[in-house]
């Protein structure tokens, strides 16, 4: 099944990709977005965010560019690539399958 860390990592990637589907964003923004959309239930561990972003960039799902942030600081903006969009669709499908399966087990257990 994979260690705890792996499942969370996979989920984090899914959340990040979905967030970026709305438009390019920097790391802090992604954190805030996920927090807000999940109504404070999900908090991204900042220590694990940047390694995850780095990995996803290496895998070619997102790309990074330097830009200026709201408070006029230099910040790195991430955006979805075409491969990233395809990956997002895949991950959404897997997630749906997973939750459906878990729900079925819970119903009949």
């Amino acid at each position: 099944m994979g260690s705890n860390k792996d499942v969370l990592q996979g989920t984090l990637a899914l959340l990040v990709l979905k967030t970026l589907a709305r438009g390019p964003m920097h790391g802090y923004g992604i954190t805030l977005q996920i927090q807000m959309l999940s109504k404070e239930v999900l908090r991204v561990e900042e220590g694990s965010l940047y390694p995850a972003l780095h990995r996803m960039a290496q895998d070619g799902w997102i790309k990074a560019e330097w830009g200026t942030s709201e408070n006029n600081r230099r910040a790195r903006y991430y955006s979805l690539t075409a491969a990233g969009r395809r990956q997002l669709a895949e991950e959404e499908k897997s997630w749906a399958r997973l939750t459906q399966a878990v729900a079925q087990v819970l119903q009949h257990a």
Binding site: H26, G27, G47, Y50, H54, Q58, N71, R76
Partner: protein
């Protein structure tokens, strides 16, 4: 695309780090700003934002390790860290490096010897096709091939692409400056084809030029070419005067790698048909001719042996007199060259491997001991997020670094010791010239350094981490050091076991050698000098009477030299030297029709003073006198083996022997004891041991005509003159300027050289065993020292509670004794199993000799206990007030 970004990443590493730093800083700033906006005080706001990030260093490390270059970078970091740690602990580092240098160094040195001798390919093209040939006869498994047999073997066989024979010889060179004695070889035409040797200039022999009666030609060696012809090309076509006869030089050839290499390079090669020995055309003659041949591609040894059996079988039918019962002996060239040496070298290779293992165990033990002091360091790293794998990698890096440095130092040590060892090698050790430090040796050193580093690094690393990660951090980790003890104890016990094995091996060898030295050869070898003499070339055509007169003069002149007590000319066999045999029949038997019905005996042709020179006693009858000359009735003296074999307990005096050569019928006038002809220890097991002595002057004329070249002179002196041979050489020159004496050796040297191989193994084993003993005692000293250090507190308590110094001594020494006894027990068991591999090298002792085993065990026990002495004294001197204070 990810590969591209990785690649880009490797070249822009610094830039990427800066970017990451900046990104994280921006993130923190943004959150801090939001925190302030939400009402936090600025310092708190920043702190909170930073805290969420946790360990930024770990972030960066993780991000970095995501690719290979990042991994390499962290390995480099490990390396730098290892260097720092090792420098902080100079004592440990120095001892470890020296120990490893010793262990790796002697392995490298020994490997370079084994490499040169066993592993280096032979210099011939397709060496696996080369085979040595000999005749197998009733008394000799690999005997000389007769010339007529060789010719037929060459003609009739189907399996060899080329076959050749050779025979060592010596010529006197005249007419080119100083008269010189040359090292020569008679060869057949195909000799150089078989061995793949090409001439420097000119040509080699052509088929047919080796026939008896062909024109006299010669090939000269590079050394002679330089000495007498200044390496000029016009040497071709010039005449070379050997033993008074002129040979035409047709080519110059570099040294040929053959089985029988003398210490000096061959000066001249002459076709074998030119040998004026009257026995050459005789099919049954044994003249010391050996053969070498090249198999046709794809032919196996079994096929070759089968074919040669057919050939010799046919010859036995056609010539039953001389060839009945004679077969061909084929041996692979490499095996013939190295067969005897290989098992010895392999035993020694095992021994030197033990030394390395002991060295590694010592360093492992040291590392284990040191790891107790590093628990804090490990704790910090684990807190920083290092996993167990990472820590092990760090420790391994340290040990491999140590091993590589030790290996480098060992290489230098090996270089010196190899040169020293080469001087000690037996003179007949094959391929000694090929031993030097080459790429094989470097690779070997690097590989075993690496393996050694992993070996002595991995085990302690695993053990200490296991214990550490299981424990919580305690200031005094007393519980964990118990298990660490066990690992160290096991190592020390194994070390002592291995040292015991080596010591027993060395002990057995040295007893063997002392037994061999004490074997009576049958004569007194002290102060006996032997050398060869060639009369002036004008004597080659002289009549036998003149030759006899010349030899009489030679004997008289040498006998008159100061310090000389006895002189004897010698023809035929020399004890422990070249052999010579004759066929004969007894008494009044008619001449047997076939040689198979005759008997063999070793034959010594000597002068009356021989008994005095060799100090051989007389058992019965009398020896020769000056009256038993060419005009008197032929006489002979036999040895006890001959007497027993052919006459039983009856009195042999008065019986007659008729020798096949010249059909000489001699009366037996005396009996002497047996002398060891074949070897100090191997003589007993030979089948041909009967010996007979004939007066030199009574040699048949046909043989006497050959005597002017290469007869031996044996001289007994009073030992006062150390430069005896030089004096005799001057005497010789005064007799005749063209007479040459050469090849001087004392009988003691001859005996010593027959033991050289065994002596070499003994010395090496002794050296390895001593090193093992030193390392093992250092090992046990270290362990007991460590034990005392760990238990100082406990000892303090005991003393405070009333224990006497003596009790403390018993406590510590019993630890040491326990380890030693275990080591001796395991070592003895291992020795019993392993020394069986040495049986062939031993003489006079069994591989399980109880005296050696007990003696060596006692030595090891004493040394081990002595090594425990210093730590024990330290334990006895523990001051309880001090010990108890350091809680």
């Amino acid at each position: 695309m990810s590969w591209v970004s990785r690649l880009r990443g490797t070249f822009r590493k610094e830039e990427i780090e800066h970017e990451l730093d900046e990104e994280v800083r921006a993130h923190i700033e943004m959150r801090a700003a939001d925190n302030i906006a939400a009402g936090m005080a600025p310092p708190e706001a920043r702190y909170d934002a930073q805290k969420r990030f946790g360990n930024s260093t770990l972030l960066k490390e993780d991000a970095r390790e995501a690719d290979i270059i990042g991994w390499l970078d962290s390995v480099a970091g490990d390396f730098r860290y290892a260097v720092r740690i090792l420098r902080k602990n100079p004592g440990f580092t120095l001892i470890a490096i020296l120990t490893l240098a010793l262990g790796i160094g002697c392995n490298t040195a020994f490997f370079s010897i084994v490499n040169g001798v066993l592993f280096n390919p032979l210099p011939h093209p397709h060496p696996e096709q080369l085979v040595t040939l000999g005749e197998s006869k009733p008394n000799f498994t690999n005997g000389s091939i007769s010339y007529p047999n060789f010719v037929d073997w060459q003609k009739d066989n189907h399996v060899f692409s080329a076959m050749a024979v050779a025979r060592e010889y010596g010529f006197t060179l005249t007419g080119l400056g100083d008269t010189e004695q040359l090292i020569a070889k008679f060869t057949s035409s195909d000799y150089f084809t078989v061995l793949g040797a090409n001439p420097v200039i000119g040509r080699t022999f052509v088929r047919g030029e080796d026939k008896i009666g062909a024109a006299p030609i010669a090939l000269i060696g590079a050394g002679l070419w330089k000495r007498k012809f200044s390496s000029s090309a016009d040497a071709i076509g010039k005449p070379l005067i050997l033993d008074g006869k002129s040979y035409l030089i047709v080519g110059v050839i570099p040294e040929v790698f053959d089985l029988y290499r003398s210490a000096h390079p061959t000066d001249v090669y002459v076709p074998i048909g030119q040998w004026n020995n009257p026995l050459l055309p005789m099919r049954g003659a044994g003249l010391g001719i050996h053969g070498v041949a090249r198999l046709k591609p794809g032919v196996t040894m079994e096929q070759a042996r089968a074919d040669m059996q057919r050939v010799t079988g046919n010859l036995a039918e056609v010539y039953p007199d001389s060839d009945k019962g004679i077969g061909a002996n084929l041996t692979r060239f490499k095996h013939a060259l190295l067969g005897d040496v290989q098992p010895i070298l392999l035993v020694l290779l095992g021994a030197v491997g033990f030394v390395l293992l002991i060295a590694c165990f010592n360093v492992a033990s040291l590392t284990l001991a040191r790891s107790t002091g590093r628990t804090r360091e490990f704790a910090v790293r684990v807190a920083l997020g290092a996993g167990r794998g990472r820590l092990i990698r760090q420790l391994l890096t340290e040990s491999i670094l140590l091993a590589l440095v030790g290996g480098g130092l060992g290489l230098i040590v090996a270089h010196w010791t190899t040169r020293a060892a080469l001087k000690m090698l037996p003179a007949d050790m094959p391929r000694a010239a090929d031993i030097h430090l080459d790429s094989h040796v470097f690779i070997f050193t690097a590989v075993i350094s690496l393996l050694a580093g992993i070996l002595f690094g991995l085990i302690p690393a695993w053990r200490s981490l296991d214990l550490f990660l299981a424990d919580t951090l305690k200031e005094s980790g007393r519980g964990s050091s118990g298990t660490r003890h066990r690992a160290q104890n096991v190592l020390v016990v194994l070390e002592m076991a291995m040292a015991l094995v080596l010591l027993i091996g060395a002990g057995l060898m040295s007893r063997t050698l002392s037994h061999l030295w004490n074997i009576q050869p049958g004569f007194d070898p002290h102060n006996v000098l032997t050398f060869s003499i060639s009369l002036s070339p004008t004597m080659s055509d002289a009549n036998p009477a003149a030759i006899r007169a010349a030899f009489r003069a030679v004997s008289e002149n040498f006998a008159a030299a100061p310090g000389v007590q006895g002189v004897s000319t010698s023809w035929g066999a020399v004890p422990l030297g070249p052999d010579d045999e004759q066929l004969f029949w007894l008494d009044n038997q008619p001449k047997p029709s076939s040689e198979n019905d005759m008997n063999w005996t070793i034959s010594y042709v000597v002068e009356p003073d021989y008994l005095k020179v060799m100090r051989i006693p007389l058992i019965r009858g009398r020896f020769f006198s000056a009256a038993d000359n060419e005009h008197a009735p032929p006489v002979a003296v036999i040895d006890e083996v001959f007497a027993h074999k052919f006459f039983g307990s009856a009195n042999p005096l008065g019986h007659h022997i008729t020798f096949q050569q010249g059909e000489l019928r001699a009366e037996i006038i005396g009996v002497v004891p047996h002398v060891k002809q074949w070897g100090l220890d191997s003589d007993e097991s030979q089948s041909l041991r009967a010996e007979v002595y004939i007066p030199f002057m009574q040699l048949p004329d046909a043989a006497m005509k050959l005597a002017p070249t290469g007869t031996t002179i044996m001289v007994r002196s009073d030992g006062a003159n150390t430069a005896l041979f030089d004096s005799l050489r001057r005497v010789n020159k005064q007799m005749n300027a063209e007479q040459v004496v050469y090849g001087a050796q004392t009988m003691e040297q001859i005996i010593s050289e027959s033991l050289a191989a065994r002596r070499f193994s003994m010395i090496l084993l002794a050296v390895f065993a001593t090193m093992a003993l030193i390392l093992a005692s250092v090992g046990i000293y270290g362990v007991i020292s460590y034990l005392v250090g760990q238990r100082t507190h406990e000892i303090g308590v005991r003393i405070a509670l009333g224990a006497r110094r003596w009790d403390v001594l018993q406590l510590i020494l019993s630890q040491g004794a326990k380890l030693t006894i275990f080591g001796i027990a395991i070592g003895t068991a291992a020795s019993l199993a392993l020394t069986r591999l040495m049986t062939r090298m031993l003489y006079g002792v069994s591989a399980a000799d109880p005296l050696t085993f007990c003696g060596v065990a006692a030595v090891l026990g004493i040394v081990a206990l002595a090594a425990c002495y210093i730590p024990t004294r330290r334990a006895m001197r523990v001051d309880p007030t001090v010990a108890l204070r350091c809680e």
